[in-house]
Amino acid sequence: MKKLIYIALLLLFGNSLIGQNKLTNALYSLKNNELDKAKLLIDAAAEDTLFQDKAATWYYRGFIYKNLFKENESSNKQSPLRSKSIEYFKKSLEIEPEGTYAESTKKGMTFLAQTIYNHSATSFDPENYELAISNYELYKEVMSIVEPESDFKSKDVMFNLALATTYGRIAEEDEDSTKRATFTDKAKELYEEVLKMDPNNISANYNLGIIYYNEGVEIVNNMDYSLDLFELNAVQDRIIELFKESLPYMKKAYELNPKRRETLIGLQGIYFSLNDIEKSEAFKKELEALDNEGNTATTPTKQSQEAPQDTKLQDEAK
C-alpha cells in the first residue's frame, strides 16, 4: 500500500503544474495517518474537476473512508463510513475497471464485504434479523462486483438456515399467535428454499418435519373440550394431513442420519400421532438402543442464537 502511495505521489507531482494539490496533500496526510485531515482533503479533491474523473481519487477516497471505518465504526453494523467507502471504490472501478488501482480497490471492497458478512452473521436474533438480511444482501452485491462469477449457493443455504432459526425463535417465543404463525410460515419457506438448493440438508428436512408436526399438535392442544363432534371430525382430518406432511421430511432426515436422536424422537411422535403404534414403538426401540450405545445427545431444545463474537478481520489492503 505504501508503495502505491509513493507511486501515486510521484505521478501526481509529475503531472501537476503546481507541484502540490489536494490529492497529493490527502495522500501525505494518509501516509502520516492523519485520517481526518486526509478525509477533508480527499473530499475536496473529489469535488475538484481536475481530479473527479480519476480512478486514483476515488480509490484513495474509498481507502481513507475504509480506514476511518476501521478506526471509528468497525462495530457499527450500519456504518455510514463503510457505505461511503464502498461507493467510492465502486466509482473507481467504474472509471477504470482494469486499471492500476483495480486490484487494490477490489481488495478493499472484499475486506469491507467480509465485515458486512460478519455483521450479518452476528445479527441473527429476533431484534436484529432485518439487519442480518440487509447486510447479507449488501455483502452479495459487493462481492458480485468484485467477483462477477461468485457462486453464493452454499452461503445462501447457511444464511437461510440461520434466518429460519431466528424466525423459529420468534415463532416459539412470541405471545401473538398471528405473529407466531407468520414467522412459522416464513421459516417454512426458507427451509423449502434450502431443500431446493440442497435436498439432502438434514437441518431443513428435520425442521420442516417438526414444523408440520408441531402445527398438528398445536391444533390438538388448543382444541376446546366442548368441540362439536362434527368439527372434531374435521380437525382430525386436518391434523392427520399435517402429520402425514411432516413424515417424509422426518424420514429423509432419518435416512441421512439414522443415529440422530432428535429424528428418532420425531418419528416416534409422528407415527404415534398417526396411530401407527407399531412403527412408533420400532423407533422407540431404536432410540433406546442408541441411548444404550452411549449416545449422550440431549432431547431437542430451543436453540440459542450462537452468533460469533469478536470476529476480527485482518485488513488485506494494508
Binding site: F111, Q114, N118, A121, F124, M158, F159, L161, A162, T165, Y167, G168, R169, E172, A187, S203, N207, I210, I211, Y213, N214, V217, E218, V220, N221, M223, Y225, S226, L227, D228, L229, F230, L232, Q236, D237, I240, F243, E262, I265, G266, Q268, G269, F272, S273, L274, N275, D276, S280, K284, L287, P300, K302, Q303, Q305, E306, A307, P308, T311, L313, E316
Partner: protein, 178 residues
C-alpha cells in the same frame, strides 16, 4: 482472512435446529386429548337417568392411562355436565368400582371388561373401551381407529340396558354395533 471467515460460517452452521418438538417428553398423546373431547361430547349426547343428575359426575379409569387421566383432569377444571362438576378417578381394581357415570377401560385393562359388565349390570354407567371387538362384548362405546383417524363404535342396546338414552346425533356419528 479465509480462516476467520470460516469461523463465522461454522458458527452459522451450528444453528441448525430451529424448532423444538411441541412436547417435553418423548411423545405427546394427541389421541388422549381427542378422546377427552369425545367423552365430553358423550355427556352431552347421552342422557343419564334423573337420579344420576345430582352430585358429581364421576369418570373412573380402570388401571393405567396417565395421558387420558391428565386430559380428563384438565377438562374437569373447566367443564361441567349441566350443574354437575366432574370427578375424575383412577381405579386400581374392579373391586373398587362404585357405579361411576362413565367407566373407562383402557386396552391394558380390557381383560376385566367381563367383570365390569357383571358388576355394573343394570347400573347407570356408560362403559367405554378402546380395543377392537369390545362393543360386542359389553361396552356401550368402543374407540377404534379407521385409517389414522380415531372414531367410536356404539352399541345402543347395551347403553339402553344401563338406563342411558342416546341422542340420534350420536348415532349418526358412530359406527353402530349390535
Amino acid at each position: 482472512m479465509r480462516r476467520l471467515l470460516s469461523i463465522v460460517l461454522i458458527s452459522v452452521l451450528t444453528i441448525s435446529t430451529a424448532f423444538s418438538p411441541a412436547y417435553d417428553s418423548q411423545k405427546v398423546d394427541t389421541n388422549a386429548k381427542i378422546k377427552a373431547v369425545y367423552i365430553y361430547n358423550f355427556t352431552k349426547y347421552i342422557e343419564w337417568p334423573s337420579d344420576s343428575k345430582s352430585g358429581e359426575f364421576t369418570i373412573g379409569i380402570l388401571g393405567d392411562n396417565d395421558a387420558l387421566f391428565s386430559e380428563l383432569d384438565k377438562m374437569s377444571k373447566v367443564k361441567k355436565v349441566s350443574n354437575q362438576s366432574f370427578a375424575i378417578k383412577k381405579i386400581e381394581s374392579i373391586n373398587d368400582v362404585k357405579n361411576p357415570h362413565i367407566l373407562y377401560i383402557p386396552d391394558a385393562s380390557s381383560t376385566q371388561l367381563n367383570q365390569a359388565v357383571s358388576k355394573l349390570k343394570g347400573k347407570s354407567t356408560l362403559i367405554v373401551t378402546e380395543k377392537p371387538g369390545l362393543a360386542k362384548q359389553g361396552s356401550a362405546i368402543n374407540f377404534i381407529f379407521e385409517g389414522n383417524k380415531q372414531k367410536f363404535e356404539l352399541n345402543k342396546s347395551i347403553a339402553e340396558s344401563h338406563n342411558l338414552k342416546v341422542a340420534s346425533t350420536l348415532e349418526d356419528l358412530a359406527v353402530l354395533v349390535n
